[in-house]
Structure formats: C-alpha cells, structure tokens
C-alpha cells in the first residue's frame, strides 16, 4: 500500500524544523511537484532524527542539473524518455514520422553518452540514486502496440546498456525496475497532469517511486545472521517421525520450496551472512541427515548447531553469544508460531518470521523478503572470511577459557597475530564505511555517516584515518577496525594553537568488529597512534549508547577512570596500563 498525498503532506508538516538538515537533490527534467512531496515524506520517515530538504533543479535541463549538483548528502536522478529525446514526450511536437525514427535513436545515443559522463563526474563526490524511464513509450513507432518494433527494442537496449555501465560506478545505485513494478502496478502516466503541469506521474506511481528511491538513499545495513529451524522449514517432514529418508526437498515430494529455501541460505552463507540452526530435535539424527542426505545448505555453512529439546530462546541466546552480535541483527525463521513467540519474548529485537510450509506462494515471498533483509551493495573479501572467522573465534574463546584466569594476554602472544594498518584515505573504502555504520559494541559513539559526509570529512587536511586488518593462526579476519579523527595542535591551556604546543588527536570515530575481540588489538591501535602520529594525548568523542559497553569497559580500563564525553588519554597513562605488545604490526604498502 503506497502512501497517499494527504499523508505525505502531513508527514512533512510534522517534521521537526530544528533537527539537523538532510539535503537531498531531486534531479529530473519534468516538474518535480508531487514526487518532491512524496520524497520529502519518505525521507522524513526513513531519517527520523533529521529535517530533510529536497532541492530541485531547472525544468527540462537534466544534464545542467547534474552539472550544478553540490552541497547535498545524496542525489536522486529520475530519467524519463523526453530527457533522452524531447520527441519521446507529450509536451513537444518534433514529429513521429517513420523517417525520423533513426534520428531519434541517434539523439538518444548522444543523450546516453552525455548522461554517462555527467553521472560519472557527479558520482565522484556525491552518492547518486538513478532511476531509468518508468513510463510507457509514446506511440512513436509505426507497428501495432502488441508488436515490439525494431525501434523500441533498440531504444530499450541502449538504455539498458547505459544502466549496466553506470551500475559499475562506486557511489551509484540503480532502481531495480522489477521492484518498482511490484509496488507500482497500476497506471503510471497521468496525461492531464503532464499536459497541464509538466508532471507526468499518477499519484500512486510517484508515491511508489519515491518509496523505492528513498530506500536506496537510506541503503540500510543488512542483517548479520539467520537462525533457522529444521523440520518443516529447512526440509519437509518431522525428522523424529519420518526418519532420515523420510524428509524431503524436491519436486517429486512437492517440497521444492524447501530446496529453494536451502539454496537461498547457501547463497547467503557464501555472501558472508552467518547461518545457525536452532531445532528441537535429536542431535544424532540431525547429524545423520546432513551426512546421508547431502542438503543444499551444507553443514559447513552452519555455525553453530543448537539441536536439543530445550527452549528455542536459549538456543538463540547461545547462538548470539557465539556470533557476538545482538538480537537486532538477526532473523529467526521457524514454522512454529509458538516457538517464534517464545523467541520474540526473550529477544524482542530479533526479527521472527514464520515459514509457511503449506503455502509455496507465501514461502516464495518469504525468500524475497529474506534477500531484502540481507541485501548488500557488493561482496567484500571480509564476507568470504566471516563464517570461518566466527568458527575460529569460538575456538579461540574456548582455548582462552582453558588458560588460567588472567593469563589471556600471555595466551594472545602465542597466536601469531599480525595487524596490517592502512592510513590511505582515497579512494573511498566502502568496507571501512560499512564497519563504521554497522558496528554497535566496540563503537566510540554510535555515530553513522552518509557517504558524502564521510568522504568530505576525510578529505580535510588534518583528518586522520586508520583501517586495520588482522590475521592470526586461527585464520584471517580481514578489515576489522577503523579509527578516524582530527589532529590538533594545542597550547599549554589546552586550546587549539598553531604554535609549538603539543599535538593531540581527537578521535571522532572508532569501531572494531566483534569478531576481533579478546585479542588486545585495541591496545595495538592506540600504541600505533602515539608512536606514528607523534601525539601526546588522545581525546575521545565518546558517547554512551545502549550497546557500546565493550568500548566503555576498554576506556575505563586504559584510563583507570569511567568513560565520559571528550575524555582523554595521555601517552604516560597509556604506557602504565597497556599490556606488552602482542602482535606483529605492519603498515600497508599503499599507505
């Protein structure tokens, strides 16, 4: 159900005027009118702490609007057919004669080339959301409407090529027409509105389009883990009743939807999503089923298996502990409403989803929903390492527990840890920003950044950036920590000074993946900052959040005082509290 215009206006009118502004550009060649309203409303709902302002450009000048783009956090570029050639619109009369079709194709080619170069230039500084023509083509070709003409096929092919080419650019996100089709299935073109006001969309289409593009502006962080039940979820049948040979996931037994579910989970595991099993079952039977029936979701894709007759909520608690993440980051899938309710009561943040085993249509819609929950911009090196590193971390924690109490720093020295540090700010490293925007526990203040905001800050001459990768004998963890701050020269009174006062680093962002805990990596990072940046003092832009207890504990330990906003750590203080160096530290050859 898309938002109505009346609701959109009320949402905008109820926005907090004093909240920090969120400047977003809407670039299109038509009158933005209601699309601007719907965008404003969806931005208000998606960014509740901000006061969105939608900037628009000049009518009929899409390329010029792109060239003038500046000072916004993101831009939405909505392209319609008349932007590629005015003869493909209703407001200009250049002719639809058959002899003109080739010329229209040539003009569309030139417009596409121009769009490609201007989008590429704009995307270097500002994240862009692009939407290619969503309206039906005007009846310009000479064929009957049911027959696709060579002209229209070539036209669509050219636009598809442009779309594919631009999708490779960093900072560019393209609206998927299939998603828009699902939300905007009724009439899209409003002839009256286009002819009288230059706004070509029906209200319902404008509303749906705004919803989709704002989701791309928001670009929500994907969930981190999926916890699945087995019986009548991963496969059809109750293992304890029908036995290992009685469960199925195939066409013959009308259980293909379970095979598709397994296929999706296997794909998610390969994309870096953590998969666990929580099932009330006989452990040995489950092991036999995985060994003998060779499901599409492999045993190696799953960690941990919680298979016993105890409460599901306790299984979920242990899985969250093994993954070291919070319930907000997981989706639980089960065919039992009662088990889901029991999990939800104990872990309110978890997204609990019923597997509709008797309804393949609803189950297919669940697969789409899961893909949406775990959708990523791209698969990083760290995604490929995640499953193995979570297992290795569990092994490490187990080994630490075997050591005598207080011996963990000695133990860490035995694991051959190696840190690789990079202070290179350009080009924008999407993994670093992803870490900043999704890490909750070891996080200095919970602050999140839009791409343009992050890039602008790092481009400042005094900005310091450090990305940390890690490996040890348990395997590589990939890039696991990011520190960013500003170098300050301060005089004896602690005020900013450009004289020969001591230097201080004000750390504004510091995050570390929970997979890297218990390795004393945070101390190595601080040691490097003091040694390499030649600073006498660190100042932390600390803010308590509901989930950053690990950061609070670390600051308390290293400073021997509770963490508080703008707390400081001197070199001398650090040297008193830090353990001896445990790891090999090397700087990346790229800087």
């Amino acid at each position: 159900m898309t938002m109505k215009l009346a609701e959109a206006l009320k949402v905008i009118q109820s926005a907090l005027p004093d909240a920090p502004r969120l400047e977003v550009a809407l670039l299109c060649g038509f009158t933005p009118l209601h699309l601007e309203t719907f965008l404003g409303a969806h931005l208000c709902k998606s960014f509740p702490g901000r006061s969105p302002n939608v900037q628009t450009g000049l009518y009929g000048d899409l390329i010029g609007n792109l060239q003038r783009l500046a000072g916004v956090s993101a831009a939405i570029v909505v392209i319609e057919w008349p932007d590629l050639d005015p003869r493909l619109g209703l407001r200009r009369l250049g002719g639809w004669e058959p002899s003109q079709l080739q010329d229209i194709l040539g003009e569309v080619n030139r417009s596409c080339d121009l769009l490609q170069s201007n989008v590429a230039a704009a995307a270097q500084n500002i994240p862009l959301v692009l939407c290619f023509p969503t309206l039906p083509l005007v009846p310009v070709s000479f064929t009957a409407l049911s027959r696709a003409s060579e002209f229209t096929l070539e036209l669509r092919s050219r636009v598809a090529s442009l779309s594919a080419a631009l999708s490779h650019l960093p900072g560019v996100r393209i609206v998927d027409p299939q998603r828009l089709d699902a939300l905007s299935s009724s009439r899209r073109l409003d002839i009256n509105s286009d002819l009288s006001a230059g706004f070509p969309y029906t209200l319902s289409h404008a509303s749906a389009l705004a919803e989709v593009v704002v989701r791309l502006v928001l670009n929500p962080q994907p969930k981190k883990g999926l916890i699945t039940d087995l019986d009548d979820t991963l496969w059809r049948g109750i293992l304890g009743e029908v036995g290992v040979q009685g469960i199925s996931w195939d066409l013959d037994n009308h259980s293909q939807i379970h095979a598709l579910y397994q296929q999706l989970l296997h794909s998610l595991a390969a994309s870096g999503t953590m998969i666990a099993v929580a099932s009330k079952n006989d452990r040995s039977l489950v092991e036999e089923a995985f060994a003998a029936r060779d499901p599409i979701l492999r045993e190696a894709d799953v960690f941990p298996f919680e298979v016993h007759w105890g409460a599901k909520s306790e299984s979920v608690a242990r899985i969250l502990g093994a993954w070291n993440i919070s319930a907000d980051d997981v989706v639980c899938v089960d065919d039992s409403p009662m088990d889901l309710a029991e999990i939800k009561a104990a872990h309110p943040g978890a997204e609990c989803v019923l597997f509709p085993s008797e309804n393949p249509q609803a189950a297919y819609e669940l697969l789409e929903r899961l893909r949406d929950c775990f959708g990523k911009d791209k698969i990083s090196q760290e995604d490929g390492l995640r499953a193995a590193s979570v297992r290795a971390n569990a092994e490490l924690q187990h080994d630490i527990k075997q050591e005598s109490p207080g011996a963990s720093s000695d133990f860490v020295r035995q694991i051959d840890g190696k840190l690789t540090l990079s202070s290179q700010k350009q080009p924008l490293d999407s993994r670093s920003l992803e870490l900043v925007n999704k890490t909750n526990q070891f996080n200095l203040n919970g602050r999140r950044f839009q791409e343009a905001e992050w890039q602008n800050w790092l481009n400042a001459p005094d900005a310091v950036f450090l990305a940390v990768s890690y490996r040890d004998k348990y395997g590589p963890l990939g890039k696991i920590a990011v520190i960013a701050g500003d170098l300050l020269n301060v005089n004896v009174n602690g005020l900013n000074s450009d004289s020969s006062g001591k230097r201080r680093l004000r750390i504004r962002t510091w995050v570390m993946s929970c997979r890297a805990f218990s390795r004393l990596i945070e101390y190595e990072c601080i040691r490097w900052l003091f040694d390499k940046l030649d600073v006498e003092e660190l100042e932390f832009d600390f803010l308590p959040t509901p989930r950053n207890t690990p950061m609070q504990n670390f600051l308390r330990q290293v400073r021997n005082a509770p963490a508080e906003p703008h707390c400081r750590l001197s070199r001398a203080q650090f040297l008193q509290s830090c353990p001896t160096s445990s790891h090999v530290v090397e700087e990346s050859p790229n800087g």
Binding site: L5, A6, L9, H34, T37, N192, S196, L203
Partner: protein
C-alpha cells in the same frame, strides 16, 4: 452533503495548514497568498485522491475558492446519484 464539506475542509487543511478551520469556508485564491498555481495543483490533487475523481483542466481553471469547489463536488455527487 455535510460529509462532502467535512472531507473538503480536510483537504484544505492539509494543503494550507496555516488556515484556521473557521477560515476555510470563506477562502479563495484571491484571499490567500499561499494559494499559488503549485499549491492549487496540490489542492486539486488532494481532492481527486480524497473523492476518487478526475478533474479536467477546463473544470480546474474555475475551481478557485472553497465555495466553488464545494458546489462542483455537490454537482458531481448529485449526477452520480441519478
């Protein structure tokens, strides 16, 4: 008919949130500075959405006050009833 007035007044209140409810029945394009052409399009779109109707450009040109719009909607309603 009272229902039409109430729904129409809601459309005006949404399009022109600065108006007091008592001011709405007397409002016209000439008396309200914020009722410019863009605000007029928004108002008529709200009315189309609320009443599930399409307003032709010819009709739209004459709908420049609350009273004229109310009369227009009443006419449509009575035509529907026939």
């Amino acid at each position: 008919m009272a229902e039409i007035e109430s729904r129409l007044a809601n459309c005006f209140a949404t399009a022109f949130p600065e108006l007091e409810p008592a001011e709405i029945p007397a409002v016209s394009m000439g008396s309200l500075a914020s009722w410019d052409s863009l605000a007029g399009i928004t108002l008529l779109s709200l009315i189309e959405e609320e009443f599930g109707i399409g307003i032709s450009p010819d009709d739209a040109a004459g709908l420049v006050s609350y009273q004229l719009i109310l009369d227009y909607l009443r006419t449509l309603s009575s035509e529907d009833a026939k």
